[in-house]
């Protein structure tokens, strides 16, 4: 007896690609995640895949902007330049994240998949940076 395997890209394999077509019983889908150093979604031999992820580039840009603002406030508000620099280094070293947590997700031979990944650490890091900046402005009576 010939064994048939599900092929997500074959319109004759169960139902064709397209929303609402559904997946029949017996279809094989492979979705697994592992912690890795890259933020990557790898899709192979699949269709109708929708991936929603945290915008990592926006997170990095915002983190850098807030860190620069902290450096700026320290630089203009503290009379001793070397003291300002030491405080800046100490502060940013303590609150900077070494690397955003990233996941690698593999989607293979799948159809009609929706994946949502949220980088919670990015949000927390940005919130903390902003709070430090606000506390700094208040502490130094800048405004």
């Amino acid at each position: 007896m010939e064994r048939t395997t599900f092929n997500a890209l074959d319109p004759n394999s169960n139902v064709g690609c397209g929303r609402g077509s559904g997946v029949e019983q017996g279809a094989e889908e492979t979705i697994f995640t592992e912690q890795a150093s890259d933020d990557h979604v790898i899709i192979k031999d699949s269709c109708d895949v929708t991936v929603t992820t945290t915008d990592i580039q926006a997170a990095v840009n915002l983190q850098v902007a807030i860190q620069l603002a902290i450096a700026l406030v320290l630089s203009v508000s503290i009379a001793d330049g070397s003291q300002a620099q030491k405080i800046q280094q100490d502060l940013l070293q303590r609150i900077s994240t070494k690397q955003l947590i990233r996941q690698k997700t593999y989607i293979e031979n799948s159809r009609g998949i929706e994946v949502t990944m949220t980088d919670a650490e990015a949000s927390v890091s940005i919130q903390l940076l902003l709070q430090v900046l606000l506390a700094l402005v208040a502490k130094l009576d800048v405004l």
Partner: protein
């Protein structure tokens, strides 16, 4: 302000207080700012708050993908 904001606020204050103290910061360490400098900082701060709020609310992007057979 929700709980996570309050927590971040408190953590930020504690961290900052500790760093300033360790590095010998005192009120006399401060340098007076001109009104122009204060306005510049105010503008930067407001922009960053807006951008942070925008990021926290809309930090996700959606991509729809289809792949070709990998033969």
């Amino acid at each position: 302000m929700n709980e996570s904001d309050q927590l971040a606020n408190k953590l930020g204050e504690l961290l900052l207080g500790d760093v300033l103290e360790r590095n010998g910061f005192t009120p006399s360490s401060k340098r007076p700012l001109t009104p122009e400098q204060k306005q510049q900082i105010r503008t930067v701060l407001e922009n960053l708050q807006v951008e942070t709020e925008r990021f926290l609310q809309h930090s996700q992007r959606t991509i729809r993908r289809e792949s070709k057979p990998n033969h």
